[in-house]
Symmetry: C2
Subunit: 313 residues, 2 copies
C-alpha cells in the first residue's frame, strides 16, 4: 500500500496513525456490502464531488472483483443527502445517483446499511434530519473530512486538517480502491471538489503538492475550462441583477474594516429570484481593500440568514 499522506504534512508520531486509519478506511469500504454515502446540509462542490468520485470508485472496484470471482456479490451503494444537489453541481451526477433524503423511503436504507460514510463534515448534526438514523444505524461509520474539532460519533476517522478539501483526501482513497485506475469522470468530480474548496487554488491550504495532484487530474481527463464554466458561469440574468442591487447598497463601517451586503425580500421579488441564488455573494464584501470582516445578510420570509467571511487575525 502506498503512503497516503506526505511526510511533510504529518508529524512523525501522527504518520503511523494516519496510515492505519487510511488502511482501516479502505478495508471498511472494500468489505462492506451495503454502503450509504452522505455529506452536510447545503452540500457544496467538495461534498458532492467527493461522494460521486468515491461511489464510482467503489463500483469500479466491484466490477474488478466480479470479473475475478464469479461468486462475488455486488455492493449496494446509495448517496443520500438531506438537500437536493444545487443546479450548478448536477452535471457531476452523470448516473443520477444522488437521492434527496425521504424519511419513509431512505431511513430503512440507512438503518440497514453495513457502512455509512460521512464526507466533508465531522459533526453528525450537520446531517440534520438524517442524523438520528445515522446515529441509530448498526452500520459502521466512516468519517472522511478536513475540518477541525472532530466530534465523537464514527468508528473510523480519516481526517487531515491540513488538506485543502475532502476531495484531496478522497483522491487517495479512490487511487487505492481502483489500483490507480481513476477514470475521467472520477477525475472531474475530484477536480470540482478541490477547485471549489480552494477558491480556484488560492485559499491558505493550497500548496505545491495540491498543484501536482491537480496536474494528475488534468492528465486523467478533468477539463478545467468546462468544469469552471458549469459551476460558476451559469448565472441567470436576474441573478446577476440581484447581485447588482446588493452591491449597489454595500455599506462599509468601522474605519473600513467591516463591510455589510444586504439582500432584502424586496430585492428578491424585484428580480424574481430566491434566497438560494445568493450562494457565493459573501465573497464580495471581502473583496474591498482593508475589510477584515465581510457580512452577507439575506432577509428570509421568517428571519435573516447571515454569512461571515474574515481575513487576517
Amino acid at each position: 500500500m502506498v503512503q497516503p499522506f506526505s511526510q511533510s504534512r504529518v508529524k512523525p508520531e501522527q504518520n503511523l496513525k494516519s496510515l492505519s486509519s487510511f488502511n482501516e478506511a479502505v478495508r471498511l469500504l472494500r468489505e462492506s456490502n451495503s454502503i450509504v454515502i452522505t455529506t452536510h446540509i447545503n452540500p457544496d462542490g467538495d461534498g458532492i464531488g467527493s461522494e460521486l468520485a468515491l461511489s464510482r470508485a467503489l463500483r469500479y472496484a466491484d466490477r474488478m472483483e466480479d470479473s475475478k470471482a464469479g461468486l462475488h456479490k455486488p455492493k449496494t451503494i446509495s448517496i443520500i443527502n438531506v438537500n437536493p444537489t444545487p443546479r450548478n453541481y448536477q452535471f457531476l451526477d452523470v448516473d443520477n445517483e444522488i437521492r434527496t433524503f425521504d424519511e419513509t423511503r431512505d431511513a430503512p436504507t440507512i438503518l440497514q446499511a453495513d457502512l455509512v460514510v460521512v464526507l466533508d463534515t465531522n459533526h453528525p448534526m450537520r446531517l440534520r434530519t438524517m442524523e438520528p438514523y445515522v446515529l441509530r444505524s448498526n452500520a459502521q461509520k466512516l468519517c472522511i473530512d478536513h475540518h477541525l474539532d472532530t466530534s465523537n460519533f464514527a468508528d473510523v476517522y480519516l481526517i487531515d486538517e491540513e488538506a485543502s478539501s475532502t476531495g484531496e483526501i478522497v483522491m487517495k482513497v479512490v487511487e487505492e480502491l481502483t489500483s490507480h485506475q481513476i477514470d475521467a469522470q472520477m477525475a472531474t468530480c475530484l477536480y470540482a471538489a478541490i477547485m471549489t474548496d480552494t477558491g480556484s487554488f488560492r485559499y491558505p491550504r493550497t500548496d505545491a503538492e495540491l498543484h501536482r495532484t491537480i496536474a494528475d487530474l488534468l492528465e486523467l481527463g478533468a477539463d478545467p475550462t468546462y468544469i469552471y464554466d458549469q459551476i460558476y458561469d451559469q448565472w441567470s440574468p436576474n441573478r446577476l441583477r440581484l447581485l447588482g442591487n446588493a452591491l449597489s447598497n454595500i455599506r462599509v463601517l468601522y474605519d473600513g474594516k467591516l463591510a455589510i451586503m444586504t439582500v432584502t425580500q424586496e430585492m428578491l421579488s424585484a428580480t424574481a429570484t430566491t434566497d438560494a441564488e445568493t450562494d457565493n455573494f459573501s465573497t464580495y464584501p471581502m473583496s474591498i481593500a482593508g475589510v477584515l470582516l465581510g457580512v452577507l445578510l439575506v432577509e428570509l420570509p421568517d428571519g435573516v440568514k447571515m454569512s461571515f467571511r474574515s481575513k487576517g487575525d
Copy 2:
C-alpha cells in the same frame, strides 16, 4: 542547456527552431549591456510580472558574473511602459523599477540601448508612443510572447502560441539565466503573470505541465493567497457600487446569446469612479448561462470603449 519546450507541445520540426530561438534569446540577454524591457499599452499582470521577473533574473545573473570576474561591467536594465502600473500590480515592483514612458527622458535610453525586449505582445503598435523609438533604435529586438499573428519587427522571436501566458515562457528563460536559482520575488512575479493570464488556471491553455510549474513556484516562495488578495481583493467600496449599477442594468439579447453591460459617465460620476476602474468587468456578461458573446460598453468623455469576450464556436 535544458530543453525549454516540452516535446508534447511542439511539433518535431518546430522543436529545433524553438530551441534555437531560446538559445538565441538567452545569448542576447546575457551579452547585451544596456537593456530596455517593455510590454503593451494598458499593461496587465502577465506583462508586468514577466518584466519584473526577467529584470530581477538579469540582475541576479549580473551579480554572479561580477563575483567571478572583477572586470565585469554591470548591465543597465530599464523597464519602461507606455502606461503607469495599475495600482493592484504595484506590489510586484518591490524595487520601484518600472518607469512610465516620458519622451524627453526615455527616448534616448531606448535609442541607445543594446537590446529592447518586448513582452506579451508581438505588435509594436501596441507600444503606442514608444513604437517609433523602439523601431528606430539600433538595439537588437527580442520579442517573447504567446499571441498569434506575429508581426515582423524583431531580430529574435521566442513565441509559444500554446503557452498559457508570457510568464510561462519567461520562467524558462529566468531558470536558464539564474542557473535555476529563482528567488521568492521572481517566483511571485511569475506566479502573478500566469495566474492572471489563465483566469486562476481555468482558461483553455491550462494543462498538467502548467500546474507542475505552479507547484515549483509555490515551493520557491510564491504565496497564492497573498498574491490573489493583492491583485483582486483590493476594490474600493465605490468601485463595487459601480459594478453593482452596471450589473443591475445588464441586457440580454438574441435568445440569450448576447449580453451587454453598460457603464455610463453618469454611473461613473454617481460613484466617484473612473473608467479605469471597469477593468475586468467584461467577465460578468459571460457568466450568464447560454451567453456566447459578452460585451462591455464604457462611455468615455469623447467616445465609447468596447470590450468583447466570447465562448464556444
